[in-house]
Symmetry: C2
Subunit: 251 residues, 2 copies
């Protein structure tokens, strides 16, 4: 059986997969793009799972992660970072898991190592693809996720932690925002990633001092309150900053 499988999908490596924690930000809270595995699986375990797939023998890990992301969202050239490798021998044990894996052409008997990635996508640009995957894809607020299929909940926790650490060192949060954004939105973003409240004035002072934002002479429109000034992230100024050995945002 292993043999048959290998012949049919000779390019797929049956032992290694990638899973992606695709983060988004709806301007209110941090969200993750999850796959709904449908009714069939729900009797045995959580329906929702991280998007992922086996890797091909002719691609490296980063390429595989980008492929999964592209197939699902149509986005490429996206911020992407490895979280780590996961895999117990008994990682896959539920009947429902086996069924599900068969349906995506994975090898249900084999022991699978999965390499997890997290990516940051600007939700505004997200266009669901027509793949069978994407039809069942949903953004779910991180805080509402209590369980996931396989070991995906564990992977999600690790990804959140990695993101939290990373944002203290690099301003990667801008990848989650539209090109033009307000300081309040940035503030909310940091609060939801760091999972703690930040004083408004202190936050603004700290961000402004970094001098990596360009203020636009443009205001929000159509909001039922005082409109905010819009800003954009200034890549060049950030480069200058890092060239001076900067690696700590102090949050």
């Amino acid at each position: 059986m292993q043999h048959i499988h290998k012949k049919i999908n000779s390019e797929l490596n049956p032992n290694v997969s990638v899973d992606c924690v695709i983060f988004g930000f709806d301007l209110e809270q941090l969200t993750v793009l999850l796959i709904d595995r449908g009714e069939i699986s729900s009797a045995f375990g959580p329906r929702m799972a991280l998007p992922g797939n086996l890797i091909y023998d002719n691609e490296n890990l980063d390429m595989a992660a980008n492929r999964v992301l592209d197939e699902l969202t149509g986005l490429n050239n996206i911020y992407l970072e490895q979280v780590g490798a996961f895999g117990d021998p008994d990682r896959i044990h539920k009947e429902s898991d086996r069924e599900w894996l068969k349906s995506i052409r994975a090898e249900p008997e084999a022991r699978v190592i999965t390499v997890a990635y997290f990516t940051l996508v600007p939700m505004q640009q997200y266009k669901p693809q027509a793949s069978s995957f994407a039809k069942n894809a949903d953004w779910v607020p991180v805080n509402e996720i209590k369980e996931l299929a396989f070991d995906h909940f564990e992977i999600l926790q690790a990804a959140k932690e990695k993101l939290k650490q990373k944002i203290k060192i690099q301003p990667i949060g801008f990848n989650l925002l539209p090109e033009k954004f307000t300081l309040s939105q940035l503030h909310r973003l940091y609060e939801s990633i760091l999972d703690k409240p930040l004083d408004k004035r202190n936050f603004r002072r700290k961000i402004q001092k970094l001098d990596i934002l360009s203020s636009l002479r443009e205001k929000q429109r159509g909001v039922p309150h005082k409109p905010s000034l819009l800003y954009e992230f200034n890549e060049e100024k950030y480069q200058e900053l890092t060239q001076t050995g900067f690696d700590n945002f102090g949050f």
Copy 2:
């Protein structure tokens, strides 16, 4: 041929290996335990490599890393942390690499993903084992390593960086020191991990303020200068510290 291999070592997974960056500290500088692959390989590429091996199908990744470490040093219950997964399709390309892999029963043709770990061992307790591996193992100062076999140099860089980040958040450096140590030794350790000089008085002030060291009423003996007081790491006090949401040593 793949078939034969699988039969002989049916427990080995031919696609996944672990490599360990085993850090030590000789009280002067940070070192790494490397394997000398011998004359045979030296004509084609670097002789030195990270210790590693394929994983068995019935162990998880952490267990495999611990096994490699134990086989080599006889140490277990050692601080161990995953660095990440590495693996391009063309990761193994040199003739010498293939020969070497055959000699350790690995599958030279297969595409191999390797999961890298770093570990911190107290060099004082290190006793080389009688394995064929350990006979050719050597501690090499990190700064003197300019190249390694396969993609191990890249892995080493990633491990150093991870260690650097981690020590800013947790006081894991104590795993590299003997039970009793001096502040100067701790100082040197931090300097070699962070790879930059730290002011002596400021360093001592900062460390002491954390209040995670127990001062012993005991002095160094046999040194040709003013003997230093000895300290030990206080696990309980560190636990208290972390319970208050502490996660930043500010280096």
